[in-house]
Point group: C2
């Protein structure tokens, strides 16, 4: 078995014992999938592939020139994808019925030439492919491809794959390098990673070729008749060179579309965060799959842009995207905590994108730092995107709340990319825990994230099982059991998080080797010690962003989790903690608690006498003399609840 | 004598002894005026009122849709204004000849109906008054009015005033509240303050009325046929609702034009800094002059917007405007130090605007805090706008330099508002030092700024002289002499700067009273003590911006001056001091020095062993554990030169 994407490999992982992850999966299965199905129906999305007129199609766009329903295809597709992942785990009549009905509608919605899109069939057929830059046709197509792959994996039929392949044929005929082709590519990447996943399913080189074309052509300043493709199509549409979309910070800001220059030339990560992550995910897949090409420039770009993001443009929660206007990256170290400081977006989908990219990078080079980021994002920039009851969602995951922009979850969004993206992630999350590789008759497993879960791998007819049992992320003791490996040489690499200041393994491992963040368990040791325990003591710790961010803040972290100080847990607060000064030397105590309603257990942290208030004498503004800013110790906060 | 604007009152002030200010005035007179005259000639501006075609009129605008030469009228007008102020001091054949020639050209350039503008006569006569929002016709008219006032003051003739009054007549017929009027107002305020100054010269109520109309109509959402004037004129021009100017951060951002809402309703200061300052200056004048109206809402707005600016949107140099894109204000406390942090504009003209506004506010209410800001701006946000030799200028006065955006002065700018603005300011700067009021036969003088200068005031036929002699801003000892005041009851209020921790006056003043930052010298004490000395010891001090700015910086100030740490004085620096950590407890030594070339004396400050370098271990980015950031004391800087 070579590499498998998490969306394929997840089915090798089961969650026989309760864990943080399994409880959330249960909630998504029991509640979120059905809740989102209801929303798809009540908003018109469910029936949209029937190609009837929906009254909302008359609505003025919230964000000109993008019709509000332009993403409906992808909302449905992501739900189908997530539903199929969960159906593989447990059958549900309602969900199964809805998937089948949706697939029938999609099949019937396909046009004779293979075209498949709600808006450009029902509302504006004359505008098909006229605005790749903003109109999301290829983005929707990408999500339909991913839905078809999940559908095929669960049902084993081509009911959805068949129309999708026909649509891909049309795209392959339309776009490409030939004189008969348009030299275009989508303003929102997604189809590239979908086509590469499709190629691994079909091995049809046209799918690889089209993905490669979209990736390599992107940002070509002379691609269409000697000019930038987006300039040419804009002129063909009669768009004024001075037309402005509200999400543009400047005229024709092609970095928003990851099209300001070819990806291999980009020195820093710019533009819309989700688009950047989806594109780089595809680039990483292309590097792995496209053996015929010189991949070094792409590999270098991946490292350069990943490092720029992690080192200079990522919040300490793993969130990315500082600017709301273009939902994306700012300049280096521009990471304001909230709206009143001019930023903090950290879109849920961007966090999912970081996880996808990290997973691909780990395939290219096993590096615990990358896995650290993947786990950081999962817990603090993605799981935050859904409430504990699975029915409320975030789009933005800002670090600080303000009166005018409270941090609250919503039931749904007009542009509803995030909620079903979280749903599908929980469907295949098992694929993120570990990756396995079978080489001849030996097995190698890299354990990236801890939980209670079992990995089953077929090695030459024998099924090797690796079970981990833990209460991660609340406790750091992981008990492993390797089964049926007596004849299969098995090595395991266990991630030792970068933040871990100590760890132990038992039974004793002579001369333990940690290489780039992974503790290597050799086959001979594992043969003698199929049951072993890794212990990474979890202690709360204060962390800060880079000083060049000009964010003089400390955050309380424990294991992979960054804790929140929330108004609701500290009702005496009246300025959203803006004037609160934490004392990093204060003791933090731990309490076992549970979430009201769901009963889900967690570890709460409480600080005693750990904070005071900032007092500022600004009478000589804008020049405050030394000593103008003091900490009022007499109002020292006696109890601060982090949850 | 009632109030006089500094542009009128300056002529009562002479500079018989050398001082920091007088030396700079000498340089402007000897060098800058003639240098700028040469530039006006070589760039085509000088001859532009001849209404011939200049080849540069074919140039593509640097900033669409604004032709590069659109401001030429104002460049010439500001130079004439400044020239006339200096001619009043000392005659110069070349300057006098140029003023006369320019006035002749301007007179000849006037159209039969009174219209007077270069671009809209030569290049685009059909576009007259079609885009008040962006096309600067009324801004240019305002500067022509100010030039005419200065010309009249110096020459005592109406050679320039006559055509200007004719032009103002046309404007008065064109704009106003009547059904025959356009209900418009300029995108860039300036004419309002010019018309109010004109009114004080002419006492023609039409000039007051037109200024009041422009001020009060501004931002009316239903002013033109039930809609916003700028929307209506944009539609008339056929502008797309989605057209974008590069200086717009969003669609139709009317705060850029101070037209998002009426000035009396604006809760915070927003938009383009220069426009905001020029408008508020006019509002303050209107409050003072317009006795017939209920001025409280305007007065409240002035206080509200001034406070918002000083407390939350002003750099510790007095500079305003954090954002380059719209040359203006950001949200509260958004004050990055340089381009690599996303901002710092602090345009020279905006500093001049703050000084104008401060002077008007001091007329309404004597408050040392306002005068502190006026002086802070003068030394650190305005004088920085011109090199010591008077031939190089800044447009932007950022706090921190970066490799990609060095802090450097330039010879000129395409949009050349700042250089002649500094020139004219030095012409009438005497008017900022103090204000005087004659009431019956008594005299009251408020001393706002210190220097070596003499104020002569006519009180009922007798000339009272007040002389101050000092080496301010380098030394804090001011020797005052009041002459010919034996029969004139005279009171003097001396500003005690907010940053002054101590001060003394001799001879002894019994029960000294400092009211809102001014030390009140009663008439009877002054009668007995016509010679007295105020001493405000000048000591270097470290100051910081408000902690909510997230700018963890300290600056070294001494008196009204904020000192620079410059690469050129500290050649060992390689990152523009980005990683330098100052120790505010370190001793700072003072040295008397002089500027090479001009020989101008100044006090240099040097820190010994006062700084170290920040060392950051960012290997766990984006979560830096406590202790990741340390100060490398072994590379402690042994000498740091502030100049």
């Amino acid at each position: 078995m070579a590499h498998a994407h998490p969306q394929t490999a997840f089915s090798n992982t089961t969650f026989p014992k309760p864990s943080f992850i399994s409880r959330r999966r249960e909630i998504v299965y029991q509640s979120t999938l059905l809740y989102q199905l209801d929303v798809l129906k009540s908003t018109g999305r469910y029936d949209a592939f029937k190609l009837q007129w929906d009254p909302s199609y008359n609505d003025k766009p919230n964000v000109w020139p993008v019709p509000n329903h332009l993403f409906w295809d992808s909302d449905v597709a992501k739900w189908i994808e997530g539903a199929c992942y969960f159906l593989l785990w447990k059958h549900n009549e309602t969900i199964d019925g809805a998937v089948k009905e949706l697939v029938d509608m999609i099949r019937a919605a396909q046009q004779p030439d293979g075209y498949l899109n709600i808006h450009f069939t029902v509302v504006a057929p004359e505008k098909r492919f006229v605005c790749l830059r903003d109109f999301h046709e290829l983005y929707n197509a990408g999500h339909l491809i991913e839905a078809a792959l999940a559908h095929n994996k669960h049902y084993g039929t081509d009911d959805l794959m068949e129309p999708i392949l026909k649509y891909v044929d049309l795209l392959h005929k339309t776009f490409g390098p030939g004189p008969e082709h348009r030299h275009g590519y989508p303003g929102h990447p997604e189809i590239e990673l979908a086509l590469l996943r499709l190629f691994e399913h079909t091995r049809d080189s046209r799918h690889l070729d089209l993905a490669r074309y979209f990736i390599e052509e992107r940002g070509n300043p002379t691609g269409q008749g000697g000019r930038h493709y987006f300039d040419v199509e804009a002129e063909e549409r009669g768009e004024s060179p001075h037309d402005m979309m509200v999400y543009w910070p400047a005229e024709r800001p092609y970095q928003y579309y990851q099209a300001h220059e070819p990806i291999i030339d980009q020195p820093t990560i710019e533009g819309h965060s989700v688009r950047a992550m989806y594109l780089l995910t595809a680039v990483a897949d292309l590097v792995r799959l496209d053996g015929s090409k010189d991949n070094k420039p792409k590999r270098d770009a991946l490292e350069r842009l990943w490092s720029n993001m992690v080192d200079k443009k990522m919040y300490l929660t793993g969130g990315v995207g500082a600017h709301k206007q273009w939902e994306g990256f700012g300049i280096d170290y521009f990471l304001p905590s909230g709206t009143d400081e001019g930023g903090c977006y950290a879109e849920t989908c961007a966090g999912i994108g970081v996880m996808m990219l990290a997973e691909r990078l780990l395939q290219l080079d096993l590096d615990g730092k990358v896995a650290d980021i993947m786990e950081l994002c999962f817990y603090n920039a993605v799981m935050t995107g859904m409430s504990a009851d699975g029915k409320r969602f975030t789009y933005v995951n800002q670090l600080a709340s303000t009166d005018t922009d409270l941090s609250q979850r919503a039931e749904w969004f007009t542009c509803a990319c995030c909620p079903p993206n979280v749903t599908r992630l929980f469907g295949y999350v098992g694929g993120y825990l570990w990756t396995s590789k079978v080489d001849d008759r030996s097995l190698s497993v890299n354990v990236h994230m801890y939980s209670s879960a079992t990995l089953s791998v077929d090695v030459g007819g024998a099924t090797v099982e690796i079970e981990q049992v833990s209460n991660w992320p609340w406790e750091g003791k992981m008990e492993f059991a390797v089964r049926n490996a007596s004849d299969v040489p098995t090595t395991i690499n266990l991630r030792i998080p970068g933040w871990a200041t100590e760890w132990t393994i038992s039974p004793d491992l002579p001369s333990p080797q940690v290489v780039k963040g992974y503790l290597m368990l050799p086959a001979d040791w594992l043969r003698d010690n199929p049951n072993f325990t890794l212990n990474i003591p979890l202690k709360s710790r204060f962390v800060s962003p880079h000083p060049y961010t000009n964010q003089d803040i400390i955050a309380l972290a424990r294991g992979p989790l960054v804790y929140c100080l929330e108004d609701v847990d500290n009702p005496w607060v009246n300025d959203h903690f803006k004037s609160l000064v934490l004392d990093p030397a204060a003791a933090i105590s731990e309490t076992e608690a549970s979430i009201p309603g769901t009963g889900e257990p967690y570890v709460a942290l409480t600080g005693q006498n750990c904070a005071s208030f900032l007092s500022v004498d600004a009478s000589l503004a804008p020049q405050l003399p030394r000593g103008s800013t003091t900490q009022e110790s007499d109002v020292k906060v006696d109890k601060l609840n982090f949850e």
